[in-house]
């Protein structure tokens, strides 16, 4: 099925030659979180754009080829940074939940939905 044929089947789906706009579900989740937090007034759009721009610059300086594939990684970095700056969750809290999810994944049989339980926090 060609790109144009797909577009006819699903009108308005923003595909391009390189595939869908989100390559993995987490990219969509990260995208939505920024919009939701902005909608809630946690930060202004200029604040967001400045933070994202800074993260992109950092990544480039660290050798990221910045070809667009890593865009949502920068996006996620910006999100974590703003969430910390706004006092919602500091790096320590983020790390604690990160470890808990990691633990939940480890104990979940392959293929089953991974869910977080209180005992995942050690």
């Amino acid at each position: 099925m060609s790109r144009r044929e797909i577009a006819k089947v699903i009108p308005g789906l923003p595909h391009d030659a390189e595939g869908p706009v989100f390559r993995e579900p987490w990219e969509a989740q990260a995208f939505a979180m920024a919009l939701a937090l902005h909608g809630r007034g946690l930060f202004t759009w200029p604040e967001w754009a400045a933070t994202l721009a800074a993260e992109i610059r950092n990544a480039q300086e660290a050798g990221d080829p910045d070809t667009g594939e890593t865009y949502y990684r920068h996006w996620l970095n910006a999100l974590e940074r703003l969430v910390a700056e706004k006092g919602v969750a500091d790096a320590k809290t983020l790390a604690r939940y990160y470890d808990a999810w990691d633990h939940a994944a480890d104990r979940t049989p392959h293929g089953a939905p991974i869910e977080l339980r209180p005992d995942d926090f050690k």
Partner: protein, 212 residues
């Protein structure tokens, strides 16, 4: 904040594995949900909206209307935010949308050199190349070369103007209406309007280029 030093002892035979990025996203979402900052159902709705409901099609409708309705065209060029809002499109991010019109004398192209700001409410989500450093830097330095990469060759006399988006101001290119479309309906015209033609890295399709 990407450096997480963990000594994983995964048992891939039995357990599941989430990538570092997936773990970070899940951690963030759980915290934000627990603190009441986000609602997972609302997040899904945002994704659904941007993935399927909003797309270049919205922009195409705007352009086709501007081609057929002189009053709308005028309104679009003087205040695109307002004109687009009259069509019932959402505009949640960024303050200003500015429409820039292509003419035989001037071709417009949009870029965001800093962070890939994009007129989401009319074009959906940006393509990968729009977010890439090569596009972001070359669009400004060598717009004609970038256009050539996209297969677009303009007359030498046509000036190319590149607009750098910001968090406050984003741009939408109003491409030229192709010849041979006199009397066409807005709906038919909208099929000629490609995403790239509204970014300025392409032109509107000619009637003969429409898939039969």
């Amino acid at each position: 904040m990407t450096a997480h030093d963990h000594n994983h002892d995964h048992d891939d035979e039995h357990g599941s594995e989430l990538s570092e990025t997936q773990l970070r996203v899940r951690a963030l979402e759980t915290i934000l949900t627990e603190k009441g900052y986000v609602d997972p159902a609302a997040l899904d709705a945002i994704v659904e909206t941007y993935e399927t409901r909003i797309g270049p099609r919205n922009g195409a409708v705007v352009v086709a209307k501007a081609w057929t309705d002189p009053a709308f065209r005028q309104a679009l060029l003087s205040d695109a935010t307002k004109a687009v809002a009259t069509l019932g499109h959402v505009s949640k991010v960024g303050d200003h949308l500015v429409a820039v019109e292509n003419t035989p004398e001037r071709h417009n192209m949009i870029v965001c050199t800093l962070c890939s700001c994009y007129p989401w409410e009319v074009l959906g989500l940006p393509p990968v190349w729009y977010k890439s450093a090569p596009y972001r830097s070359r669009a400004v330095k060598d717009p004609r070369g970038v256009l050539a990469d996209f297969g677009v060759e303009l007359p030498k006399a046509t000036e190319i103007r590149v607009w750098d988006s910001t968090a406050e101001t984003r741009f939408l290119v109003l491409p030229m209406r192709p010849a041979g479309t006199e009397g066409w309906s807005e709906e038919r015209l909208a099929d000629l309007v490609t995403r790239d033609s509204m970014i300025g890295t392409g032109l509107a399709r000619k009637p003969g280029e429409l898939a039969q």
